[in-house]
């Protein structure tokens, strides 16, 4: 069966142990979590979890039903890329060799990354965008000397009228 990326967005009680209950559902059903982002909403007692997983078409039904059974889960929805806004932020730590310096600077300019830290031979870039853009940047910079990266994973909200 064809596998594709699914984005699940849920509201949960902001309490200790809730994340392990949520992630346990994925593990027990044999799905790997590709990315995961958790933070408080405007109500500090409720957090939003946005996560992505690559799976077949049974995934959403199976997972959503099980997640809905958890006492601490308030809402579960799958977000479709066509009808939602998705973003992810990436920090890229890159070693700056003298001979590659010009090329790195050109890339920063071309992709519209922000430079958040710069020393003589190391810088940390910030880039925000959809996954596709992030991956293009990473692929471009990789041969130029990426030392470390940290990605937030996708966060997303549905479009509304």
């Amino acid at each position: 069966m064809a596998e594709e990326e699914h984005i699940i967005s849920m509201l949960v009680n902001n309490k200790p142990g809730v994340l392990s209950r949520v992630s346990g559902v994925f593990g027990r059903l044999g799905y790997n979590i590709k990315s995961l982002c958790v933070a408080e909403t405007t109500n500090p007692e409720i957090s939003r979890i946005t996560l992505t997983s690559i799976a077949n078409s049974h995934f959403t039904e199976k997972v959503a039903k099980q997640l809905n059974k958890l006492v601490d889960v308030i809402d579960v929805t799958e977000l479709k890329p066509a009808t939602s806004v998705e973003r992810e932020m990436t920090l890229i730590g890159i070693r700056i060799d003298k001979e590659k310096r010009a090329e790195i600077m050109r890339a920063i300019d071309m992709f519209g990354c922000n430079v958040r830290y710069m020393s003589d031979n190391y810088c940390i870039l910030e880039c925000v965008g959809e996954t596709e853009k992030t991956e293009t940047i990473i692929n471009y910079l990789k041969p130029l000397g990426i030392e470390e990266i940290a990605r937030t994973g996708i966060i997303a909200l549905p479009q509304k009228n």
Binding site: L11, R28, K62, Q66, V71, D75
Partner: protein, 557 residues
């Protein structure tokens, strides 16, 4: 007026209707045991925490009320795990109370500390760690709500010792904060109900599959009404057995890997199946791809995860079974169904000839004799293995909560402690536990509990000196290469029972009359050891991975 956490706990339990706790003390639960001395709740000191969990489960299954077990932190809590998992698989409402180390020591690998909430995450409906005495009352109330609501199941409450010991001034108790769930997307039930009714009325060969959910929803009267009004033949899953009086003319028996030939054959021929309160577990369907190939399948269940979980359902309806059936019955017509019913009748005649004593041999005859000798309202509790299949096939339950068995988890050692819970829950009913020699030894220590409290349960131990079902499977499907299935006959079970203070007798399964009479006449706890030929298997049986139609009737097949 200040009350301690333990006092608040016991009061909240009492207010929720708890009269009995099955437990075992340890350092971290002593504040509770201190409080139990003066309170209205009876505490039964079991001889192992696993048995406390099974007893609470047996109590819940027999009464329909919530069963409560109590264990200390660390090993006490981990010993509950098998019992909690057993209750979880069969949707039995129990509350497991566990002691925990003082909150400041949590996570420090303190003496007898274990993360029991982490350990039990996949086998509880929910769990709570009470970190503040002000939350004690509301947490217990919430635990009771959760264990019985929707699909019942175990809830664990972890109780640190300092929270039990600290006091809470009156009026400072906090309410439980919860945010209501957003709609879970269940569609229009009435529309679906009409579709199911139409499909049922138009079906030529309908069959109802009754699962354990029917009893849990207290829908036994409604299901009987539906069956009789619609003249619909029905089969049970193992957990569904007993929902309808066994002698009901539409009863075809239980289905699946160890089920009856007739029920499996009829389901295979059905053109419409109405499955109620069952998840189509692999034990019921065997090879799911070949299950009921001709049938349109409708499914009613309160738990959305059970619908479409193991089998694709054409007409799913998520809702309370009792309420749904009440609405469905008026929509159901009463056709004559002559063709279908007479076809089943013919099947019945052929299959009965082939399956003497319901395919159980002498033990089947014996169980019939036991039921005959015991009062009408006797509860049977089974263990797991051949004894379970013999009992579920041969015991004919006349009321819903009179056959208790570990269906989903298949827990050996269940019968004796669950029988204790069932007897304490409904003291006016006789309780007979059916066990094999394997499962009996797994919780044999509970004979001490039975003896100490003089709990008048009857225990039947089928002794074939083997793990009978393992032996049967190895005999049939491993070319008779027997391995690790012989228990031998070195222990004198009758002498052991007498040593614990029980009356006990030994009989051969072919000549059990005298033993049965003595057991039925005894007032106190009684053990009857029944010697059975190790090759007395159950037939038919379905080989692993095969369909319900690929039944085997003997070694030569």
């Amino acid at each position: 007026m200040k009350k301690s956490g333990a006092e608040i706990l016991l009061e909240a339990l009492s207010d929720s209707g708890v009269d009995t706790i099955f437990g075992y003390p340890g350092a971290n639960t002593l504040p509770i045991h201190d409080g139990l001395r003066s309170g209205p709740i009876r505490h039964y000191l079991m001889r192992h925490e696993q048995a406390a969990a099974h007893a609470a489960d047996g109590y819940a299954r027999a009464t329909g009320k919530v069963g409560v077990c109590l264990a200390t932190s660390g090993p006490g809590a981990t010993n509950l795990v098998t019992g909690i998992a057993t209750a979880y698989m069969d949707s039995s409402p129990i509350i497991a109370l566990t002691g925990q180390v003082t909150t400041t020591l949590l996570g420090s690998d303190a003496f007898q500390e274990t993360d029991i909430i982490g350990i039990t995450l996949p086998i509880t409906k929910h769990s709570f760690l009470v970190r503040d005495v002000r939350d004690m009352k509301s947490t217990i109330q919430e635990a009771f709500k959760l264990t019985t609501c929707s699909r019942p199941g175990p809830v664990l409450v972890d109780l640190p010792r300092n929270v039990l010991a600290s006091s809470c001034p009156a009026g400072e108790e906090r309410t439980y904060q919860s945010t209501p769930k957003v709609s879970n997307g269940i569609g229009d039930k009435d529309d679906q109900l009409h579709k199911i009714a139409r499909a049922l009325n138009q079906a030529e060969r309908p069959v109802i599959i009754i699962g354990g959910g029917v009893k849990l929803s207290n829908a036994c009267r409604e299901i009987t009404d539906l069956i009789e009004k619609g003249r619909i033949p029905f089969v049970n899953t193992m957990m569904g057995v007993g929902s309808v009086h066994a002698a009901n003319g539409y009863n075809l028996g239980f289905i699946g890997t160890h089920g009856f030939e007739l029920s499996n054959r009829v389901v295979h021929q059905a053109d419409f199946i109405l499955a109620i309160g069952t998840r189509f577990s692999d034990r019921s369907t065997s090879n799911v791809d070949a299950f009921a190939p001709l049938a349109t399948i409708a499914q009613i269940d309160i738990d959305p995860t059970s619908v479409g979980k193991n089998i694709k359902t054409d007409l799913p309806l998520i809702g309370d079974i009792r309420k749904t059936l009440k609405k469905l019955i008026p929509l159901v017509e009463t056709p004559d169904r002559i063709e279908w019913l007479s076809r089943i009748k013919k099947e019945q005649e052929t299959t009965e000839k082939r399956n003497c004593y319901k395919g159980c041999g002498e033990p089947g005859r014996f169980i019939g004799m036991v039921q005959e000798a015991m009062p009408e309202e006797t509860t049977a509790v089974t263990d797991v293995g051949l004894n379970q299949i013999w009992a579920v096939r041969s015991w004919l339950p006349k009321t819903p909560r009179s056959l208790l068995t570990s269906g989903g988890m298949g827990t050996m050692g269940f019968s004796v402690p669950a029988a204790i819970g069932a007897k304490i829950g409904v003291p006016e009913r006789e309780v007979v536990a059916f066990s094999g020699d394997g499962g009996f030894f797994m919780n044999i220590q509970e004979l001490a509990t039975i003896s100490y409290y003089n709990i008048p349960v009857k225990i039947i131990v089928f002794n074939n000196s083997h793990l009978g079902m393992i032996r049967q499977i190895q005999d049939l499907f491993y070319d008779s290469r027997l391995s690790s299935c012989e228990l031998g006959n070195h222990a004198d079970i009758v002498a052991i029972a007498k040593g614990f203070g029980l009356q006990a007798e030994r009989v051969a399964v072919e000549k059990p009359e005298e033993g049965i009479d003595k057991m039925a006449a005894s007032k106190g706890p009684f053990l009857l050891e029944v010697m059975v030929d190790p090759e007395n298997y159950v037939y038919p049986i379905i080989p692993p991975g095969r369909s319900n139609m690929e039944m085997i009737f003997g070694r030569s097949d």
